[in-house]
Amino acid sequence: MRMPDWFTNLGAPGTFYKFAGRLIPWLAGLAALSFVIGAYGGLVLAPPDYQQGDGYRIIFIHVPAAWMSMFIYVLMAFWGALVLIWRAKIAAALMVSAATLGASFTAITLATGSLWGKPMWGTWWAWDARLTSELVLLFLYIGFIAMQQALPARPQSRRAGAVLLLVGVVNIPIIHYSVQWWNTLHQPATITKFGAPSIAFEMLWPLLVMAISFMAFFAAACLWRTRAELLLNEVHSRWTYQLTNG
């Protein structure tokens, strides 16, 4: 099977730079629009929870952030595989750019979770299995970022980072289940996050719209950072010269 030309051309940093530049305004617009709709639907239209009152509304930030935190790590590992197999420059730039965003989403998940936990569970932090694995995920992100900061900015460092991501992605299920197992051994399951078997539609659609918003924001911000990363990596190439000299 042969890829269409416009797709293979995207592998060239110059072409990708222009393509990303055209894409970013649309993604940013989608992110802003769906954020407003989702926030209105979640904070105004959705009814209060019968048990948690208005406190549950933090899920419209918390749950999409949690989804993103896990999705981004897997996505980074996928780009890491592309880096190792094809030495793809674009994938390397995307991988590095996504790391800080992923770590931020993880931190937001932990922060909003603990804000929610204080009134609902009566404590900022519990050694719950989900909380603990999210915390370990934050450390995995921090390890990757620290490593990329410590190593010189060159393709070899990106490939080393890609190996770390692949090792991490193999380990995440093992860590997740071991933590779950550890938690159930130590304390009875006192915490059921959303006891109801299914979530009401009035609450579900704002949640999904917010998830779209977060995803679009991530795509826009990641492409933005990737553009900067590509410029830095390709300072001495022809297309950056042409870009800066008209």
Binding site: L84, A160, L164, S178, V179
Partner: protein, 227 residues
């Protein structure tokens, strides 16, 4: 390369590493010293209440062993990188993962095994029964090679860095969470009179998985960062 030639190369590397370790006893005495010292200094901080000591002995001893094993990983490829041995390993016709596996094995033999041997004594000093002490030693026997393997992956990624020790710990510690959980659970189960074989089998399964995959990841890491 034929099978006997590969066997000869691996045996030669093992002999060389063992001889080097014998010539530099501090290389393996330091992690052991760290393990004993850290474990002995802990009761000074938390007091000598026997019940308290007994309850956190498995976790405390395992954490000390974990940190000692990780700190020892910093020097794993350092001297090889500096004197050019690593380049020879990289261009050798012998499969690199195999060479790395033998290197990790020797590294574990000189830094991990002494900790396994001394563990029952330390456990006894924390007031654990001899049975618990033996189970602790068995979990260390299964767990420290695992940590050496994971630590070798971390070391391979930052091989060119001057002060990579802290970074290796930062990279590898989150990956060690399952080892810590199952190993301490096994010791705690012994103290409570519960069966331990499940925990030990899970540890062994993780060891098999790591022994299979970690040398490959380590080889990819060395080729990426050291080549």
């Amino acid at each position: 390369m034929s099978a006997p030639a590969i066997g000869g190369a691996v045996a030669g590397l093992v002999r060389r590493d063992l001889r080097l370790a014998a010539q530099h006893p501090f290389q393996w005495l330091m992690p052991l010293g760290f393990f004993i010292l850290a474990a002995m200094i802990l009761p000074l901080g938390v007091g000598t209440d026997q019940n308290l000591l007994q309850s956190f002995a498995p976790g405390a001893l395992w954490l000390c062993a974990l940190l000692a094993a990780l700190l020892a990983q910093e020097g794993m490829f350092r001297t090889d990188y500096e004197d050019g041995t690593l380049d020879l390993l990289l261009i050798s016709p012998c499969p690199l993962p195999l060479l790395i596996a033998s290197r990790v094995f020797v590294q574990w033999l000189v830094t991990g095994l002494p900790a396994v041997v001394i563990a029952p004594l330390l456990a006894h000093s924390y007031g654990l029964s001899w049975t618990s002490g033996w189970i602790l030693a068995i979990t260390l026997l299964l767990g420290t090679p695992l940590i050496s393997l994971l630590g070798a992956v971390g070391a391979s990624l930052v091989v060119g860095l001057n002060r990579g020790g802290m970074l290796i710990t930062l990279l590898v510690l989150p990956l060690c969470v399952p080892v810590l959980i199952f190993a301490t659970a096994a010791v705690r189960a012994t103290a409570g009179g519960l069966p331990v074989s499940g925990h030990l089998l899970l540890l062994a399964a993780m060891l098999v998985l790591a022994a299979t995959l970690a040398p490959l990841a380590c080889a990819a890491g060395l080729r990426a960062s050291g080549g």
